[in-house]
């Protein structure tokens, strides 16, 4: 996979999520299930690395990029994390005009809820994968 394609896939995940970890289901779908660019184990390791360092939680995408494409992949991951943040400026301008519209607010709330529910689905898969990996290692030792 080219670095640009990796950036596009990671950007798709970060730009459609509303929290640091919210991009996880899309990343798993695109990079683990569809492209086979990383494994479930590497995705879990990326989350672990991201949560072990100070700074934004969403920066775990940098580790995902590294596992998928080395240093260039990490740079693609960083750019994918940075790009959506620029949407804050037009949103800041538009917010007072539109956010009081109940249906707009309701749609945004529904997306945040869906993001949380999808995270729960990811948690179940990660827990299953982690438990199997741990059981294999304990049996092997």
């Amino acid at each position: 996979m080219s670095t640009f394609a990796l950036y596009v896939l990671l950007l798709k995940a970060t730009a459609t999520s509303f929290a640091g970890m919210g991009s996880l289901p899309q990343i798993r779908h695109d990079l683990v299930v569809t492209a086979h660019a990383i494994t479930d184990e590497q995705l879990s390791q990326a989350v672990l690395v991201g949560r072990s360092t100070p700074g934004p939680v969403g920066a775990y995408v940098v580790a995902v990029g590294y596992f998928a494409g080395g240093v260039e992949g990490a740079i693609a991951g960083l750019l994918a994390v940075m790009t959506p943040a620029f949407a804050a400026v037009p949103l800041l301008v538009l917010m007072q005009r539109w956010l009081h519209v109940p249906r707009v607010r309701a749609a945004v709330d529904a997306v945040v809820m869906a993001s949380a529910a999808l995270l729960v689905v990811s948690v179940v898969r990660m827990a299953s994968d982690g438990a199997q990996q741990f059981a294999r290692l304990v049996g092997w030792m």
Binding site: K12, T16, V49, P54, Y66
Partner: protein
């Protein structure tokens, strides 16, 4: 001068917290108030904007703060100092992990860590969902969760699930709430 000051404050406040963006945003609020860049209302607006901006909330907060203080230059500087140091640390840690994970003891430690990371993701999901787990929103939350579960089971992609959820949300509406969603960033 204010761009340099902004850069230093964002660098310091974002890169010294481990608990996610909410802690960083609180540190930024205190610093911005001390510098007279932001009052309480400005912080509330920025917080709401950061929660509505796609991606990582604390980075959106930094871009908004930078833009308010020094325009686009401030936004870019704030974004760079908030994200690049963490990215360098993460890439270095990931590279180290790749080199040492062939050792059995390291693999056991990683396996335990991965299980812990699963708990952290569960915690993120809880923080996102918690504001909607009240009596007024309960059935709407249950409906959205059920739709997500069914679509996910049918292997529908997350983007389509979000679009379907947004459409359902707009259709059924939400109870008016003064609080923006509380999300882990």
């Amino acid at each position: 001068m204010s761009v340099r000051r902004l850069g230093w404050i964002v660098l310091r406040d974002v890169n010294r917290t481990l608990g996610g963006g909410i802690a960083s945003m609180e540190l930024l609020r205190r610093s911005a108030a001390k510098e007279r860049w932001l009052d309480e209302r400005g912080h509330a607006v920025l917080t709401a904007v950061s929660r509505l901006t796609p991606g990582t909330n604390v980075l959106a907060y930094c871009v908004g703060l930078g833009w308010l203080v020094s325009g686009w230059i401030g936004a870019i500087v704030a974004l760079i100092v908030a994200s690049v140091p963490a990215a360098v640390m993460i890439a270095a840690l990931a590279a180290t992990l790749v080199r040492i994970d062939r050792y059995p003891i390291v693999r056991v430690i990683i396996a335990v860590g991965v299980l812990a990371a699963t708990g952290l993701v569960a915690s993120s999901a809880w923080h996102l969902m918690r504001p909607y787990l009240n009596r007024a929103s309960a059935w709407r939350t249950a409906l959205i969760a059920a739709v997500v579960a069914v679509l996910s089971w049918l292997d529908v992609t997350p983007v389509r699930i979000f679009l379907a959820s947004a459409a359902i949300g707009a259709l059924i509406g939400m109870p008016a709430s003064a609080d923006a969603p509380s999300v882990d960033s």
